[in-house]
Each structure stands twice: as structure tokens, then as C-alpha cells.
């Protein structure tokens, strides 16, 4: 075998693997965990994905009076004068209201507020930006709602812990998957912040609902609707192809998990 001369050791020749980033935006925190070799293309895609989140915040924040949503809510603008994604999100909200039979709403208290759908949708969009740039293995976590792509390591799927709403800092159970979305809604952290749009009363049926499935937009919507539906959610989600539910009842009992597990 011919002797080959190396100008530098192979460990330095190969790009380092893995890139993590934490971004505070949209009133919460987004964590990016990329497990691909760190190339300029990957770094650039991460920058674009983060830019996308800020773009979404500028359009959809209900806390910014200049956002498209705030101006639409007070009739200071019209849909046709705003970027097309605004109409896209409002159409998705209408579909979410239909699919959940009114358990999800983009008009809580009568005012336009698509926040319940926007975060999951934004994470999906950020993931798409990364995938389109060639990123194969990435986990994007937006305030506890997660879209997974590829694997955590060669041959090892991603493993996601589901936070225990009764014991802060502890994990209730784990789910594994390659291309999978995991969304959790609940009443634990912020108190009863989910209102049943059908009655106007706080939803009290479940402490927490985690929905897994292919798309985070829908997993997130279904998780919110599951909290509203309460114990009836299990049967409802079982009728939706590709989506599954892990729910924690008000008494802390998780149907389908062994006690204390």
C-alpha cells in the first residue's frame, strides 16, 4: 500500500459534530440540538431558522401593538395587505377549530389570538428550514413542544422525557422516535390558563396532555384540545391516524402507566 502523507490529523480534518443553540423569543425559549457535522451550511441554516422565529414573533405577537395580528385585531389593517403566512396561519386556525370541534379557538375571549397554534407551527417551520438546508439530525424544542428529525446518534432514535406536572423537574415517562413531534399542554405551570372555548370556563379535566405524531402544528393543537376535552380526549385522539396521547388526570394518575411509574 502506498504511503500517503497527511498534512493534518484526520480528527482535525473532519468538521466537529453537533451544534446547540438556545434562543429567547416569542415569550419562551427555543432549544436547537443539531447532531450533524458542523459545516458552514449547517451554521447558516441555524441562523436562518432563528431569524424565522423572530419574523414569526414580529408578525404574530399579541404583545406587540405593531404586529400584523395586533393590527388585524383592531381593524388597523386587512389580510390582503399582510404577508401571506398570516392568512396561512388563520386558515390553519379555522381548520384546527373544525378538527377539534371547537375545543381549540383562535379567538379566546372574542379577540383574535392564534398563539395556541403559532408556536408549534413556528417550530415546524424552523425544522423545515434546517431540513431544506440538508440538516438530517435535529431536535427543535419550542417551550416544551418538540419536532424531531433523524436520530440522536447513528442507530439511536431521539429520546424525549415528558415532564411530570406533579413533580417539577422530574420526568414522567419517555417517548422515542426518529421523525416525530411531541407536544404537551397543561394547567401545571401557569395555573388554569386553558379555557374551554365552548363554555368559557377553565379546563380542569387533565393536569397535562402530551400528544405525539408526525406534525407539531397538529400535535400541539390536539394537546390543547385534549386538556379541554378532559377524560374524553383518549377516545377522541385514538380516532386520529398517527397521533397518540399520554394524559395526566387531575389526581395525578396516568392512564396506561403503572402507579408511581
Amino acid at each position: 500500500m502506498a504511503e500517503t502523507r497527511r498534512t493534518c490529523p484526520p480528527a482535525e480534518a473532519a468538521p466537529r459534530t453537533g451544534l446547540r443553540h438556545v434562543e429567547h423569543v416569542m415569550g419562551t425559549v427555543f432549544s436547537f440540538d443539531i447532531r450533524d457535522p458542523r459545516t458552514p451550511a449547517v451554521t447558516g441554516a441555524l441562523r436562518a431558522a432563528v431569524g424565522w422565529l423572530h419574523h414569526v414573533d414580529a408578525l404574530f405577537s399579541t404583545y406587540r401593538p405593531e404586529s400584523a395580528i395586533s393590527r388585524l385585531a383592531c381593524d388597523a389593517t386587512t389580510l390582503d395587505r399582510e404577508p401571506e403566512v398570516v392568512a396561512t396561519v388563520l386558515r390553519l386556525c379555522e381548520e384546527a377549530e373544525r378538527r377539534t370541534r371547537g375545543c381549540f379557538t383562535a379567538h379566546p375571549g372574542g379577540r383574535l389570538d392564534p398563539s395556541g397554534l403559532v408556536k408549534g407551527w413556528a417550530v415546524e417551520g424552523a425544522t423545515r428550514i434546517l431540513r431544506d438546508a440538508g440538516v438530517r439530525n435535529v431536535c427543535v424544542n419550542g417551550g416544551g413542544d418538540i419536532q424531531l428529525t433523524g436520530e440522536a446518534a447513528p442507530g439511536r432514535p431521539w429520546r424525549v422525557g415528558i415532564a411530570d406536572p406533579c413533580r417539577p423537574g422530574q420526568v414522567l415517562t419517555t417517548v422515542e422516535g426518529r421523525d416525530l413531534a411531541v407536544a404537551t399542554s397543561g394547567t401545571a405551570e401557569r395555573g388554569h390558563h386553558i379555557i374551554d372555548p365552548r363554555t368559557g370556563a377553565p379546563a380542569t379535566g387533565l393536569l397535562s396532555a402530551t400528544v405525539t405524531g408526525p406534525h407539531l402544528t397538529w400535535a400541539d393543537v390536539y394537546a390543547t384540545a385534549a386538556v379541554v376535552l378532559g377524560t374524553a380526549a383518549r377516545q377522541w385522539i385514538s380516532g386520529i391516524d398517527g397521533y397518540r396521547l399520554v394524559a395526566v388526570a387531575q389526581d395525578g394518575v396516568v392512564p396506561g402507566l403503572p402507579p408511581g411509574g
Binding site: 466537529r16 459534530t17 453537533g18 451544534l19 446547540r20 443553540h21 438556545v22 434562543e23 429567547h24 423569543v25 415569550g27 419562551t28 425559549v29 432549544s31 436547537f32 440540538d33 458542523r38 451554521t43 441555524l46 441562523r47 432563528v50 431569524g51 423572530h54 408556536k119 431536535c139 424544542n141 417551550g143 416544551g144 413542544d145 418538540i146 424531531l148 440522536a152 431521539w158 429520546r159 424525549v160 422525557g161 415528558i162 415532564a163 406536572p165 417539577p168 423537574g169 422530574q170 420526568v171 419517555t174 411531541v182 407536544a183 404537551t184 399542554s185 397543561g186 394547567t187 401545571a188 405551570e189 401557569r190 397535562s208 402530551t210
Partner: protein
């Protein structure tokens, strides 16, 4: 009193996760705190090395309303193996008791997530404050 005690508990627990671990020794890259402001659109400020670090990292002293808190985290191959409490609030005995209770429990929880090889944590929508207390924050820091 009881209400204050509960607040102290969660504050101490939160602070432990809040600490930015800085290395004792110069050959380890410094852990960077997440960008608190956002808005720049550039991830480069807090994008960090993905290497597997080993060593002890001492957190900054954080002044809470209950007094200064400081912890030290030990990483082995990028994995959190121990959390040692260096300073806890000591203004009164009740706070000390709370801190002693809170910190070891939190240590166990963080280690549990590490040993289970969890890559991410899904939880009910959290605010930035909630993130600081979350296991996801611990994971980001341990591997960041």
C-alpha cells in the same frame, strides 16, 4: 410564612439551573449563557462547542432575595455527574433547611435525566422563567 417558604424553595431550585457554569481550568471552553435579549437573529453569540467536556464548573454567585447561591457542576464526557452546593442563603435557619432540601433533590432529578439519556424534555408551555427551572435548561447547559 409557609407561603414564603414555598417561594424560597422554588427560587433556590430555579437559581441552581440559572447558574452559568464557568470552568475552573483554562483549557475548557466556557459555558455561555443563553441570549436573554434575543432579537438579533444571530445564533453565533451563544452557539457553543459540541464537544464532550470533562471537569468541574463553578457557577457564578447569584444574589437572590434570600441571599447568595453558588453551585459547582461536575461533567464527565459532557455528562452531568454531580452538583455540589458551594453557597446557600443563610439568613435564617428555615431558608437553610429549604436550600438543603431543594438542592439535593434537584441534583437527583438532573442526574436522573442524564442517566436516562434523555435528549429533550416536553412540558406544558413554559415562559422564560419556567425554562430556567426546566430539565431542558439543564440538558442545554450540560451539553452546551
Amino acid at each position: 410564612m409557609r407561603r414564603a417558604a414555598v417561594t424560597a424553595f422554588s427560587t433556590v431550585a430555579g437559581v441552581v439551573m440559572l447558574l452559568s457554569f464557568k470552568p475552573h481550568h483554562s483549557d475548557s471552553p466556557a459555558a455561555t449563557a443563553p441570549s436573554a435579549t434575543g432579537g438579533t437573529g444571530s445564533p453565533s453569540a451563544s452557539a457553543s462547542t459540541g464537544g464532550s467536556r470533562t471537569g468541574s464548573y463553578t457557577g457564578s454567585v447569584i444574589n437572590t432575595r434570600y441571599g447568595p447561591v453558588q453551585v459547582e457542576a461536575t461533567l464527565k464526557g459532557g455528562r452531568l455527574t454531580a452538583v455540589k452546593v458551594l453557597r446557600v442563603p443563610s439568613e435564617n435557619s428555615r431558608d437553610q433547611e429549604i436550600a438543603r432540601d431543594a438542592v439535593p433533590r434537584l441534583t437527583q432529578e438532573a442526574l436522573h435525566a442524564q442517566s436516562a439519556q434523555i435528549d429533550a424534555v416536553s412540558g406544558a408551555t413554559y415562559t422564560s422563567d419556567g425554562y430556567v427551572r426546566s430539565l431542558q435548561s439543564a440538558l442545554d447547559r450540560a451539553h452546551g
